[in-house]
Symmetry: C2
Subunit: 130 residues, 2 copies
Amino acid sequence: MTDQRRAVYDVLMGKRDHPTAVEVFTRVRDKVPSISLATVYNCLETLADCGLAKTVTDERGPARYCPNLDEHAHFFCQSCGGVSDIPLRSRRHPEDVWEFPKSLTILRHEVSFRGVCQKCAPKTKAAKRN
Amino acid sequence: MTDQRRAVYDVLMGKRDHPTAVEVFTRVRDKVPSISLATVYNCLETLADCGLAKTVTDERGPARYCPNLDEHAHFFCQSCGGVSDIPLRSRRHPEDVWEFPKSLTILRHEVSFRGVCQKCAPKTKAAKRN
DNA sequence: AACCTAAATAAGAATTGTTCTTGATATGAT
DNA sequence: ATCATATCAAGAACAATTCTTATTTAGGTT
């Protein structure tokens, strides 16, 4: 545990959103001004490997990092780019919906939903009228 | 519909796998030797926009293109990089498993599973013994 | 407390996959 | 045939990430 890792971890836990590596970088520089972006990438990867954070990707956009360790999916707003967590229903599993071939060993899954968030819904309707 | 789009479409339909843009490019050059990679990207994007193909992404790897238009998820083998389709159980929906906030308008979803395929399972076990 | 070794860091170059720019070509309506 | 619009090829540009190298640091051992 180094100063840099501690600072990256604190930044991630301090604000429960889904920052990119660059966003973490700008936030963490307040605490450790000398930190480099490469180190932020390294620290985030280390935290993810340790199970202290999750990596989230929206198509080909920058990777984002999520401090929520519960099993959950993600929602991406097409309009504002916002990301939010979607919880699993209790006692439900992806196997309830998808038919897994027995020959496959499933180790993890990543579920992403795309659409429009509440805040953006009015804008989108207005845009459709044009 | 141009020669290039037709050729890209034929290539995608001709082999039911999940090629990257570069793989499509090398296959399609047999038919249209003068085609450029940028045009392959354009054609694939056009096909995806028309609903004739789906775009599939595995974390930060290259985008892949899928000719299977049925609703399905994807499985990525961590060992060999292979991609396969996972069908939806009949009359099941993601809402059965995840608790969608009513405030969100869900337009589409993307579900990815990761693990080890049948072919790679023995190798992986052997590797674990080391 | 000084020393040692492996691991982590900073800085910037390099890489990867994709998108953009430009001028040339082709297509379809008039 | 002419013109407007869309597509194409070629390669430059771009964004996000990873790699390389030299330096620094953590943390265990004397």
